[in-house]
Protein backbone atom coordinates (compact mmCIF):
# COMPACT_ATOMS: atom_id res chain seq x y z
CA UNK A 1 0.00 0.00 0.00
CA UNK A 2 2.66 2.45 1.10
CA UNK A 3 5.21 1.24 -1.42
CA UNK A 4 2.51 1.47 -4.05
CA UNK A 5 2.05 5.12 -3.11
CA UNK A 6 5.77 5.86 -3.30
CA UNK A 7 6.17 4.10 -6.64
CA UNK A 8 3.65 6.53 -8.18
CA UNK A 9 2.63 4.13 -10.91
CA UNK A 10 6.23 3.76 -12.03
CA UNK A 11 6.82 7.50 -12.30
CA UNK A 12 8.45 7.93 -8.88
CA UNK A 13 11.72 8.96 -10.55
CA UNK A 14 10.03 12.02 -12.02
CA UNK A 15 7.38 12.97 -9.50
CA UNK A 16 9.44 12.89 -6.29
CA UNK A 17 12.41 14.83 -7.71
CA UNK A 18 9.91 17.46 -8.95
CA UNK A 19 8.41 17.87 -5.48
CA UNK A 20 11.88 17.70 -3.96
CA UNK A 21 13.38 20.47 -6.05
CA UNK A 22 10.35 22.68 -5.32
CA UNK A 23 10.80 22.12 -1.59
CA UNK A 24 14.55 22.80 -1.74
CA UNK A 25 14.29 26.01 -3.79
CA UNK A 26 11.35 27.42 -1.82
CA UNK A 27 13.03 26.75 1.54
CA UNK A 28 16.27 28.16 0.21
CA UNK A 29 14.46 31.35 -0.85
CA UNK A 30 13.24 31.69 2.73
CA UNK A 31 16.69 31.17 4.25
CA UNK A 32 18.33 33.56 1.76
CA UNK A 33 15.68 36.21 2.47
CA UNK A 34 16.06 35.88 6.24
CA UNK A 35 19.84 36.03 5.97
CA UNK A 36 19.65 39.12 3.82
CA UNK A 37 17.26 40.80 6.24
CA UNK A 38 19.32 39.90 9.32
CA UNK A 39 22.57 41.08 7.76
CA UNK A 40 21.01 44.38 6.68
CA UNK A 41 19.47 44.90 10.13
CA UNK A 42 22.77 44.13 11.85
CA UNK A 43 24.66 46.52 9.62
CA UNK A 44 22.12 49.24 10.26
CA UNK A 45 22.33 48.65 13.99
CA UNK A 46 26.10 48.92 13.88
CA UNK A 47 25.93 52.22 12.04
CA UNK A 48 23.24 53.74 14.17
CA UNK A 49 22.31 51.99 17.41
CA UNK A 50 19.11 53.98 17.79
CA UNK A 51 17.75 52.81 14.47
CA UNK A 52 16.78 49.45 15.85
CA UNK A 53 14.59 48.50 18.72
CA UNK A 54 16.38 45.28 19.48
CA UNK A 55 19.93 45.15 18.19
CA UNK A 56 21.90 42.00 18.76
CA UNK A 57 25.21 43.45 17.65
CA UNK A 58 27.11 45.96 19.70
CA UNK A 59 27.59 49.37 18.08
CA UNK A 60 30.82 49.58 16.16
CA UNK A 61 30.99 46.05 14.86
CA UNK A 62 30.15 45.96 11.21
CA UNK A 63 29.00 42.79 9.59
CA UNK A 64 29.67 42.35 5.93
CA UNK A 65 26.77 43.03 3.63
CA UNK A 66 24.51 40.16 2.78
CA UNK A 67 24.78 38.21 -0.39
CA UNK A 68 21.57 38.91 -2.20
CA UNK A 69 20.88 35.47 -3.49
Amino acid sequence: MLSQFFSMGGYAGFIWPAYGVVAVVLIWLFIAGKRFQNAADAELASLNPRARRKSETTPGTTRETADET
Binding site: G9, I15, V21, F30, Q37, N38, E43, T69
Partner: protein
Protein backbone atom coordinates in the same frame (compact mmCIF):
# COMPACT_ATOMS: atom_id res chain seq x y z
CA UNK B 1 17.88 64.72 -0.96
CA UNK B 2 15.35 64.16 1.76
CA UNK B 3 13.08 62.16 -0.49
CA UNK B 4 15.62 59.35 -0.36
CA UNK B 5 14.81 58.85 3.28
CA UNK B 6 11.30 57.76 2.48
CA UNK B 7 9.34 56.94 5.55
CA UNK B 8 8.99 53.17 5.70
CA UNK B 9 7.49 53.17 9.20
CA UNK B 10 3.96 52.88 7.93
CA UNK B 11 4.90 49.98 5.68
CA UNK B 12 6.70 48.17 8.49
CA UNK B 13 3.67 48.52 10.74
CA UNK B 14 1.46 47.05 8.01
CA UNK B 15 4.00 44.28 7.38
CA UNK B 16 3.90 43.34 11.07
CA UNK B 17 0.17 42.72 10.73
CA UNK B 18 0.26 40.88 7.38
CA UNK B 19 3.27 38.65 7.93
CA UNK B 20 1.78 36.20 10.46
CA UNK B 21 -1.31 35.84 8.24
CA UNK B 22 0.79 35.15 5.17
CA UNK B 23 2.80 32.58 7.11
CA UNK B 24 -0.30 30.88 8.52
CA UNK B 25 -2.10 30.79 5.17
CA UNK B 26 1.01 29.38 3.50
CA UNK B 27 1.09 26.47 5.92
CA UNK B 28 -2.66 25.81 5.69
CA UNK B 29 -2.64 25.86 1.87
CA UNK B 30 0.55 23.81 1.54
CA UNK B 31 -0.72 21.09 3.86
CA UNK B 32 -4.20 20.90 2.31
CA UNK B 33 -2.80 21.33 -1.20
CA UNK B 34 -0.28 18.50 -0.77
CA UNK B 35 -2.95 16.27 0.71
CA UNK B 36 -5.14 16.68 -2.35
CA UNK B 37 -2.23 16.69 -4.80
CA UNK B 38 -0.61 13.49 -3.56
CA UNK B 39 -3.37 11.47 -1.88
CA UNK B 40 -6.81 12.70 -2.70
CA UNK B 41 -6.83 13.18 -6.45
CA UNK B 42 -7.10 10.71 -9.30
CA UNK B 43 -4.42 9.76 -11.79
CA UNK B 44 -5.00 11.19 -15.25
CA UNK B 45 -6.47 8.81 -17.82
CA UNK B 46 -3.72 9.70 -20.30
CA UNK B 47 -0.83 10.89 -18.16
CA UNK B 48 -1.21 8.56 -15.22
CA UNK B 49 0.36 9.65 -11.96
CA UNK B 50 2.61 12.21 -13.64
CA UNK B 51 -0.33 14.59 -13.63
CA UNK B 52 0.64 15.25 -9.99
CA UNK B 53 3.59 17.27 -11.27
CA UNK B 54 1.00 19.70 -12.63
CA UNK B 55 0.09 20.76 -9.08
CA UNK B 56 3.51 22.30 -8.57
CA UNK B 57 4.51 23.03 -12.17
CA UNK B 58 1.51 25.18 -13.09
CA UNK B 59 1.44 27.26 -9.86
CA UNK B 60 5.21 27.86 -10.22
CA UNK B 61 4.71 29.00 -13.83
CA UNK B 62 1.84 31.28 -12.79
CA UNK B 63 4.03 32.80 -10.09
CA UNK B 64 6.87 33.27 -12.60
CA UNK B 65 4.58 35.41 -14.74
CA UNK B 66 2.95 37.13 -11.78
CA UNK B 67 6.32 38.09 -10.26
CA UNK B 68 7.57 39.48 -13.55
CA UNK B 69 4.40 41.55 -13.95
CA UNK B 70 4.86 42.84 -10.40
CA UNK B 71 8.51 43.56 -11.18
CA UNK B 72 7.63 45.56 -14.30
CA UNK B 73 4.84 47.53 -12.59
CA UNK B 74 6.96 48.30 -9.52
CA UNK B 75 9.87 49.32 -11.77
CA UNK B 76 7.57 51.64 -13.71
CA UNK B 77 6.23 53.27 -10.54
CA UNK B 78 9.76 53.64 -9.17
CA UNK B 79 11.03 55.11 -12.44
CA UNK B 80 8.18 57.54 -13.10
CA UNK B 81 7.10 58.64 -9.63
CA UNK B 82 10.38 57.91 -7.85
CA UNK B 83 8.45 56.06 -5.21
CA UNK B 84 11.16 54.50 -3.02
CA UNK B 85 9.09 51.60 -1.73
CA UNK B 86 8.25 50.58 -5.31
CA UNK B 87 11.95 50.38 -6.09
CA UNK B 88 12.51 48.22 -3.04
CA UNK B 89 9.56 45.99 -3.94
CA UNK B 90 11.00 45.48 -7.43
CA UNK B 91 14.38 44.53 -5.96
CA UNK B 92 12.69 42.14 -3.54
CA UNK B 93 10.55 40.45 -6.22
CA UNK B 94 13.34 39.58 -8.65
CA UNK B 95 15.06 36.70 -6.80
CA UNK B 96 11.71 35.20 -5.81
CA UNK B 97 10.46 35.37 -9.41
CA UNK B 98 13.71 33.85 -10.63
CA UNK B 99 13.22 31.00 -8.16
CA UNK B 100 9.67 30.27 -9.36
CA UNK B 101 10.76 30.45 -13.02
CA UNK B 102 13.56 28.00 -12.35
CA UNK B 103 11.06 25.66 -10.69
CA UNK B 104 8.64 25.93 -13.61
CA UNK B 105 11.47 24.95 -15.98
CA UNK B 106 12.79 22.07 -13.88
CA UNK B 107 9.41 20.56 -12.98
CA UNK B 108 8.33 20.97 -16.60
CA UNK B 109 11.41 19.10 -17.69
CA UNK B 110 10.70 16.31 -15.19
CA UNK B 111 7.17 16.11 -16.56
CA UNK B 112 8.24 16.35 -20.20
CA UNK B 113 10.61 13.39 -20.07
CA UNK B 114 7.98 10.72 -19.28
CA UNK B 115 5.17 12.38 -21.29
CA UNK B 116 6.90 13.85 -24.35
CA UNK B 117 9.95 11.63 -24.29
CA UNK B 118 12.34 14.56 -23.96
CA UNK B 119 13.69 16.75 -21.17
CA UNK B 120 13.71 19.82 -23.33
CA UNK B 121 12.51 21.07 -26.70
CA UNK B 122 13.20 24.45 -28.26
CA UNK B 123 9.61 25.38 -28.85
CA UNK B 124 7.90 28.71 -28.24
CA UNK B 125 6.60 28.14 -24.71
CA UNK B 126 9.73 26.59 -23.25
CA UNK B 127 12.11 29.00 -24.95
CA UNK B 128 10.14 32.08 -23.92
CA UNK B 129 10.10 30.91 -20.29
CA UNK B 130 13.84 30.32 -20.44
CA UNK B 131 14.19 33.91 -21.70
CA UNK B 132 12.07 35.01 -18.72
CA UNK B 133 14.55 33.31 -16.41
CA UNK B 134 17.44 35.14 -18.08
CA UNK B 135 15.54 38.43 -17.82
CA UNK B 136 15.34 37.96 -14.05
CA UNK B 137 19.05 37.15 -13.86
CA UNK B 138 19.91 40.10 -16.10
CA UNK B 139 17.79 42.39 -13.96
CA UNK B 140 19.60 41.32 -10.81
CA UNK B 141 23.04 41.54 -12.39
CA UNK B 142 22.39 44.99 -13.86
CA UNK B 143 21.19 46.34 -10.54
CA UNK B 144 24.57 45.88 -8.93
CA UNK B 145 26.66 46.54 -12.01
CA UNK B 146 27.11 50.24 -11.24
CA UNK B 147 28.99 51.93 -8.43
CA UNK B 148 26.11 54.36 -8.20
CA UNK B 149 23.11 52.42 -6.85
CA UNK B 150 20.72 54.93 -8.40
CA UNK B 151 22.05 54.29 -11.91
CA UNK B 152 21.83 50.55 -11.39
CA UNK B 153 18.24 50.90 -10.24
CA UNK B 154 17.36 52.99 -13.28
CA UNK B 155 19.03 50.72 -15.84
CA UNK B 156 17.51 47.58 -14.35
CA UNK B 157 14.06 49.20 -14.13
CA UNK B 158 14.20 49.94 -17.86
CA UNK B 159 15.22 46.36 -18.56
CA UNK B 160 12.31 45.10 -16.44
CA UNK B 161 9.80 47.26 -18.33
CA UNK B 162 11.13 46.42 -21.81
CA UNK B 163 11.29 42.75 -20.89
CA UNK B 164 7.61 42.76 -20.01
CA UNK B 165 6.89 42.18 -23.72
CA UNK B 166 7.88 38.59 -23.00
CA UNK B 167 4.95 38.02 -20.61
CA UNK B 168 2.14 38.10 -23.21
CA UNK B 169 4.42 36.17 -25.57
CA UNK B 170 4.67 33.38 -22.98
CA UNK B 171 0.94 33.47 -22.27
CA UNK B 172 -0.11 33.21 -25.91
CA UNK B 173 2.84 31.19 -27.21
CA UNK B 174 0.79 28.00 -27.04
CA UNK B 175 -1.87 29.59 -29.30
CA UNK B 176 0.40 31.43 -31.71
CA UNK B 177 2.87 28.66 -32.46
CA UNK B 178 2.81 24.93 -32.79
CA UNK B 179 4.18 23.59 -29.58
CA UNK B 180 4.36 20.38 -27.61
CA UNK B 181 3.10 22.28 -24.60
CA UNK B 182 -0.60 21.99 -23.95
CA UNK B 183 -2.75 25.14 -24.16
CA UNK B 184 -4.36 26.84 -21.19
CA UNK B 185 -6.93 24.69 -19.45
CA UNK B 186 -7.81 26.70 -16.34
CA UNK B 187 -7.96 30.35 -17.39
CA UNK B 188 -10.36 30.10 -20.31
CA UNK B 189 -13.36 32.04 -21.53
CA UNK B 190 -15.46 28.88 -21.46
CA UNK B 191 -14.45 28.01 -17.91
CA UNK B 192 -11.82 25.53 -16.75
CA UNK B 193 -11.49 22.41 -18.87
CA UNK B 194 -10.33 20.36 -15.92
CA UNK B 195 -12.23 18.24 -13.46
CA UNK B 196 -12.82 19.63 -9.98
CA UNK B 197 -10.91 16.72 -8.41
CA UNK B 198 -7.81 18.06 -10.15
CA UNK B 199 -8.75 21.73 -9.99
CA UNK B 200 -8.92 21.64 -6.16
CA UNK B 201 -5.27 20.66 -5.53
CA UNK B 202 -4.15 22.96 -8.34
CA UNK B 203 -5.87 26.01 -6.88
CA UNK B 204 -4.81 25.16 -3.31
CA UNK B 205 -1.18 24.91 -4.38
CA UNK B 206 -1.52 28.15 -6.35
CA UNK B 207 -2.85 29.89 -3.22
CA UNK B 208 -0.03 28.36 -1.17
CA UNK B 209 2.58 29.74 -3.58
CA UNK B 210 0.89 33.15 -3.59
CA UNK B 211 0.75 33.35 0.23
CA UNK B 212 4.36 32.20 0.41
CA UNK B 213 5.33 34.88 -2.09
CA UNK B 214 3.78 37.56 0.15
CA UNK B 215 5.61 36.14 3.15
CA UNK B 216 8.95 36.11 1.30
CA UNK B 217 8.34 39.62 -0.07
CA UNK B 218 7.74 41.08 3.40
CA UNK B 219 11.00 39.55 4.65
CA UNK B 220 12.95 40.86 1.66
CA UNK B 221 11.41 44.34 1.72
CA UNK B 222 12.35 44.65 5.40
CA UNK B 223 15.92 43.81 4.40
CA UNK B 224 15.79 46.29 1.53
CA UNK B 225 14.53 49.05 3.84
CA UNK B 226 17.40 48.43 6.24
CA UNK B 227 19.89 48.40 3.34
CA UNK B 228 18.44 51.68 2.08
CA UNK B 229 18.92 53.24 5.51
CA UNK B 230 22.47 51.90 5.62
CA UNK B 231 23.22 53.48 2.23
CA UNK B 232 21.72 56.78 3.34
CA UNK B 233 23.71 56.81 6.57
CA UNK B 234 26.91 55.92 4.71
CA UNK B 235 26.32 58.73 2.25
CA UNK B 236 25.85 61.11 5.14
CA UNK B 237 29.06 59.89 6.77
CA UNK B 238 30.93 60.59 3.55
CA UNK B 239 29.49 64.07 3.43
CA UNK B 240 30.85 64.86 6.87
CA UNK B 241 28.11 64.14 9.36
CA UNK B 242 29.06 62.07 12.37
CA UNK B 243 27.18 58.77 12.20
CA UNK B 244 26.17 58.93 15.85
CA UNK B 245 24.68 62.39 15.39
CA UNK B 246 22.55 61.34 12.44
CA UNK B 247 18.94 60.82 13.26
CA UNK B 248 17.39 57.68 11.85
CA UNK B 249 15.77 57.94 8.47
CA UNK B 250 12.54 56.78 10.03
CA UNK B 251 12.47 59.68 12.45
CA UNK B 252 13.33 62.11 9.73
CA UNK B 253 10.61 60.67 7.53
CA UNK B 254 9.96 62.63 4.39
CA UNK B 255 7.26 61.19 2.12
Amino acid sequence: MLHRFANPTRFLRLADIIQPWAAGLTIVFVVSGLYFALFHSPADYQQGETVRIMYIHVPAAWMALFCYTALAVASGVALIWKHPLAGLAARATAPIGAGFTFLALVTGSLWGKPMWGTWWVWDARLTSVLILFFLYLGYMALQDAFDDAERGAKASAILAIVGFINVPIIKFSVDWWNTLHQPASVVKMSGPAIHSSMLTPLLLMALAFKAYYIWLMLIRIRGEISSMKVRALRLRQVHGGAPGAASTPAEEGAD
